[in-house]
Symmetry: C2
Subunit: 117 residues, 2 copies
């Protein structure tokens, strides 16, 4: 479902906010990042993900999950674990992860057209 | 404090995730947005804010607050209320707001240099 019109179930559900700055992304960051988004979307309990990186280099990825168990299972996925390891070894200068329980949500959409790419 | 090293107090605290796509930002979006960031930072209970907008137009702003009361007080601030009204009237094609209770957080920083701009 598109941004702004109840794309997620009724709260509570969970959000993982990943905020980062790059160090050395090499040739492997981009394909691995795309693979992780694809793989995450196949996991039980996955609800959605949004990602943005501005011109100042700060990136924010918010992924949404049915419950804490879904987050823990994705965290222990072998390919994801390997990607996170590379992230610490090389890709990121700094990052921050916040796991949060969504208590309420609301949205706005100007018209009926699809707003997501 | 900088990204990735306990920039916030120990959880629980609150995050407001604002995800948006633009409609018509005119000449007033940018200065109002800067004013809102400045004004938010002066509010009781404000902990920090990160914002990123990617080339595909999707923007994510995550602001962090001590408790729900701080969020409610900022929401009822007159200048902020007026800005939100203009957002619905003109700036945004769609947006989504999620209020979440941060249950846990952790961070990584490659070295001791400041990572925030």
């Amino acid at each position: 479902m598109e941004l702004g019109v109840g794309r997620f179930p009724e709260p509570p559900y969970y959000a993982v906010i990943f905020t980062s700055r790059f160090h050395d992304t090499g040739d492997d960051y981009e394909p691995t990042s795309e693979r992780m988004l694809q793989l995450a979307a196949e996991q039980p309990g996955f609800l959605g993900v949004d990602s943005a990186r501005g011109n100042d280099g700060l990136g924010i990825t918010a992924s949404y999950w049915r419950d804490e168990e879904s987050i823990a299972a994705w965290r222990s996925h072998a390919e994801h674990t390997l990607a996170r390891q590379t992230g610490r070894e090389r890709w990121y200068a700094a990052f921050e992860v916040q796991v949060a329980r969504v208590e309420r949500s609301y949205g706005f959409r100007r018209n009926g057209r699809l707003q997501r790419p």
